[in-house]
Point group: C2
Chain length 393, copies 2
């Protein structure tokens, strides 16, 4: 393990966790405000979940303005529009109930409502000068309905600008939600594929944070526990989706994955995965599944102690020898991902052509050296070419 | 492990951790206030550490009012006097640099300064009606100089009322420090005995929180990591006190121990230990050392999986069988405590007489059933008599 170095812990978000916790939404929300701007994912329109959430708020004396108009990869313009609606209606509180996109929108709305400029102005991009968030956002209550992004526990809001074909993050400690209300009963209905995809995202957060050379005792502790909960529960969640206990453990894994990347960010896996999603329509979790095992094979023998520790999370009976344990990891992960995704996925599966491999590799190398530089093994351009070939299967 | 149940995470304290971090005190303090009430432990009067801390504050434009008048087991009246001095001098920020008592005083001063009544009014005692803390305290920056209580990361301030011969806690989420500034370089000079005593306190926090039946994924994760860091570093801290790396790891262990009890409190060990300190002059860490192994022997075979997990923290080569691993724990701990304390300590060592055993057992049974009821094995009066006899050696 790397030695002890300068580090921080900052996690102001209050987490309220438990089966049936949605019923506490009104009581939790009321001290924060009297009129809530409530963002739901579209398929909650007319749902019992939305009706329950709203009635809990109304019973507690919180008025609501609802918006069901979210979509994946939220655009800056959409976020700004909702922020305007929130301000015009005099809302003093934001609630986001849905997947990572809904919560990311909630963060941007709460922040733009008090800071005033377009959300894009605050997005950090190496080539893009961005503004500081100076005003505390409106309080945000995040109610995740998937177990993946961990956005309920991070300092990030991912925003897309289609004009510039760029997707990047607004990052600030001020973006932490005031409350993360996590109710595993909201997750029992998630279909198997989405459960698998979002679960792999959680694993990737934890794995990449854990193997980041800037990791700390705190971030590693959280990341390893997130991976342990993923390892022990993802298959039950996929194949016995109504198991509230397993759903709760995966919701916790996602939360810890979010806390981990809020303290020490992702590296090479999310670079390859997000670029694949940018070049093709690969879903986020699937894109990560294509590159995880190839990255680990290429990494070894670098990062041996870390990779051995990760391997033992998946199989406690692995040999004591770190080398043998770590080398077992890629196959362990590949077999698990195949079982939960129903087959093997590669970058080719998602449509990356052989002709695209070279420009894709060059694009990654040119644009993401900063993020990749914190991984236990730093790739050259040739390494990336090799990795992309391996990821294409 | 117990199943997943309703739980929370609340840790608003910002932790800034690292060797040499004291030099950042001014920059960290300035955004919180312009005039700081600074509480030091008495032996810092005239020290280089105090001079440096004050000059960092003055350089950053923070004026200071200093008070070096702390003592162990701080009294409510002392706390109130300091709070009055803080208010009279128009301080808008409190800084506490010292051991657990200094930080506990800092918490009470910051809280009484804004809430107005005597600190004793807010102390929770089963037989004592107490007042709610309603106003946010002044911001507190806690700078621990020992690795034990973890007060920099808890919701407690322990207060003593000599008139009533009672020692109890003010408890509130509002008591969390705004910042915990942890600099292991401040700890390299702690003498061996104090290092051992405070280290055992950290272990006891983590052990008791871990084996509390109300523990959660989050509290258990933190508690187990705290014990791991204690196991790997306490001897180096005791016998090579200038090892900043080991001091840093123990400071982290103490912080995590504090976070653990802030999320799930101590049980039987602290009851026995604190009562012993009340009846004799046993130092806190020593009192905990007298009862740890006897409690674990009496507990088994209850709590088998938890105790086996704790045992494996101290010796990874223990048998796979939980029963064998757990039964090895009391001797492992006894040997470790003997090495670091320089000999075996019992309740008899600290002056508990044979004649006192019966009234002492009855006193514990009558007054602390609530706290003990959360341990994995709940003691009867006869159990406590048996335990006290064992603790007397």
């Amino acid at each position: 393990m790397p030695p002890l170095k300068r580090s921080f812990i900052r996690f102001p978000t209050r987490v309220e966790f438990g089966a049936g916790m949605l019923a506490q939404l009104g009581g939790i929300a009321r001290p924060f405000g009297k009129r809530a701007y409530v963002i739901f994912d579209p398929f909650f329109e007319g749902s019992q979940t939305a009706a329950r959430a709203l009635s809990f708020l109304h019973e507690a004396g919180v008025e609501t303005i609802e918006n069901y108009n979210t979509r994946p990869n939220p655009r800056a313009a959409d976020m700004d529009e909702k922020a305007a609606e929130c301000v015009q209606n005099g809302c003093d509180l934001v609630i986001a109930l849905g997947g990572g996109s809904a919560i990311d929108i909630g963060k941007a709305v709460a922040m733009v409502a008090t800071n005033g400029r377009s959300s894009w102005n605050y997005a950090a991009l190496e080539t893009h000068p961005y503004e500081e968030i100076t005003e505390p956002p409106l309080p945000l209550i995040a109610v995740p309905t998937t177990s993946g992004t961990g956005s309920e526990a991070t300092i990030y809001s991912v925003v897309t600008n289609p004009d510039l074909q760029r997707k990047c993050s607004i990052r600030s400690f001020l973006l932490y939600p005031a409350v993360a209300l996590i109710d595993p009963e909201l997750m029992t209905g998630i279909p198997q594929q989405l459960t698998a995809m979002t679960g792999i995202d959680t694993f990737a957060h934890a794995y990449e944070s854990y193997t980041n050379i800037k990791s700390t005792y705190f971030s590693r502790m959280i990341a390893l526990e997130s991976m342990r909960l993923f390892a022990e529960n993802i298959e039950t969640c996929c194949f016995h989706g109504d198991n509230v206990e397993a759903r709760g453990a995966m919701a916790y894994a996602a939360l810890l994955g979010g806390m981990a990347i809020a303290h020490c960010p992702c590296t090479i896996g999310h670079v390859l995965g997000q670029c694949l999603s940018g070049w093709t329509d690969a879903p986020h979790g699937g894109s990560l599944a294509t590159c995880t095992a190839p990255i680990i094979r290429w990494t070894l023998p670098e990062g041996l102690p870390q990779l051995a520790a990760v391997a033992r999370v998946f199989d406690r009976a692995l040999p004591e020898d770190d080398r043998a344990a770590a080398h077992a990891l890629p196959d362990l992960l590949n077999r698990l991902f195949e079982r939960i995704l129903g087959g093997r996925v590669t970058m080719r599966t998602y449509g990356l052509t052989e002709a695209q491999q070279e420009p894709f590799s060059a694009f990654i190398y040119e644009n993401y050296q900063g993020d990749m530089g914190n991984y236990v093994k730093v790739p050259t351009l040739n390494d990336i070419r090799f990795l992309v070939r391996q990821c294409c299967g």
